[in-house]
Symmetry: C2
Subunit: 313 residues, 2 copies
Amino acid sequence: MTSAVADFARPRGVLAPVVTPFTADRAPDAARFVRHCRWLVDCGVGLAVFGTNSEANSMSVGEKIGLLDALAKARLPAHRMMPGTGCCAFTDSVELTRHAVELGCAGVLMLPPFYYKGVPDEGLFRNYAEVIERVGDQRLRIYLYHIPPVSQTPISLRLIERLVDAYPGAIAGIKDSSGDWNNTRAMLERFQPRGFDVFAGSETFLLATLRGGGAGCITATGNVNPGPIARLAASWGDSDADEQQAALDRVRAAFQNFPMIPALKRAIAHHSGDPGWVTVRPPLVELTDAQAGLLMQALEAAGHAMPGLSGGV
Amino acid sequence: MTSAVADFARPRGVLAPVVTPFTADRAPDAARFVRHCRWLVDCGVGLAVFGTNSEANSMSVGEKIGLLDALAKARLPAHRMMPGTGCCAFTDSVELTRHAVELGCAGVLMLPPFYYKGVPDEGLFRNYAEVIERVGDQRLRIYLYHIPPVSQTPISLRLIERLVDAYPGAIAGIKDSSGDWNNTRAMLERFQPRGFDVFAGSETFLLATLRGGGAGCITATGNVNPGPIARLAASWGDSDADEQQAALDRVRAAFQNFPMIPALKRAIAHHSGDPGWVTVRPPLVELTDAQAGLLMQALEAAGHAMPGLSGGV
């Protein structure tokens, strides 16, 4: 295998873990999904569909494949896609990953198996090795997904090293959602020089990540503030970069006072005029009207807008 | 719906979360699985297939349905079966639960969705409600699965109360794997009198649970020590009950010094003479030979045996 450095079209900049719209019956809503993805791409943001903020694990493998096929059919650009494909069962991860590779996706974002806790690195290594070897496709590019607050299954620096050594072509990078800048910095220093692309898990660390040589960020609020976040990723060397970062942080802070996924969906419902967007799957619960009122006030105060968002089918 | 108390054939006594054998290629091995299930039933233990110790979440829904069909085809008794059917996606839980009900299983053991952490009880209530209403079958009997050390998603007493009130026919009981006797006792006092059957999550609490009016236990070591555990469940009023409990505890303690699932599989491999039993799926890892040696020593010292276990196909 060639080194990951040799790739010519690796994802960079900003991607959103695209929120998944559901119908009133809580089925995945492909039409709304395609429309939102198109708006995000038009705003300069890539499509990390099936992330934590996508309620990915609240959908079956078949439902996710259906949504991916809907994006392909609508001719959304596969080279802007990095679907989440990491499941508890490696057989599920293989099925979903293979499908993503066959559609030409730029990469996949892969959770470790997250049911068992306190598992050895050897077991996590075997999980990724099984997927890589069973998919068996030179086009496969895996971005590891480190999100210990949710998965409770951290990806250690030692595990990354072992994976990069064993599979330098397939192991392409990481999303670090630890919220711990010391960890992100260690990854940037140790692995980014080897062509292992580090994405921060939130735009809060976007400027610091780019200044540290990283690739960008994959961030929940990319769903609702895509233009300004993408602008910072494109202009981070400019003199107003710190001001841009501060403006992004104000919008982020407004969302972080609420459960993130229901808050994102509520903001989209509000700005698109499409109330169906608020629906979540269990175990999540929609914001109350009182919470939604406070969220909208806070967003207005932070200067938040969603220009160009449309609610029409 | 009628009260759960009216059922005439509710599972009681001891069930094992049946360990799942895999082939060398890590595919579910239906032939070995059927053989082990038959031995367990012959030893007086019911089949809580697809539990935590079954590596259930390391298998796809399709793989689990395949194993369930193999049990049915082999005419294992469905009234002794309580398959685990709780997945992160309620659509998966519905598919698997419906299949179990159609096969006539006595009940299903249902994890809450376990990816998101810190979710509200309202969201967990909605998860169970979706499954109950979509399966829509009067034969459905759900045993809630409370295992916070692994799922990190506890089932509170308040949630149980709400579920029992809303679905007295479908919500049949719980497996309490909290390891916290105060919690088990609270469930026994509050809910067992309403016909909600409390199973301890380990035989360590078997005698205490039965004395408290509970239904029995669903225990990992039911896979490897079924006869003696079942005997205590059948004779817990006898004068030697405390001695029986102490003997069970000694065998349990020998296993608990090792990762449980690999240790169970190693013991079965040893006593059946079938080395293929040791295979696990990632993220788990087999015991080393050194660990296995220590385990076997400890089991011998505890007086452990597996009479009647056969390795032949």
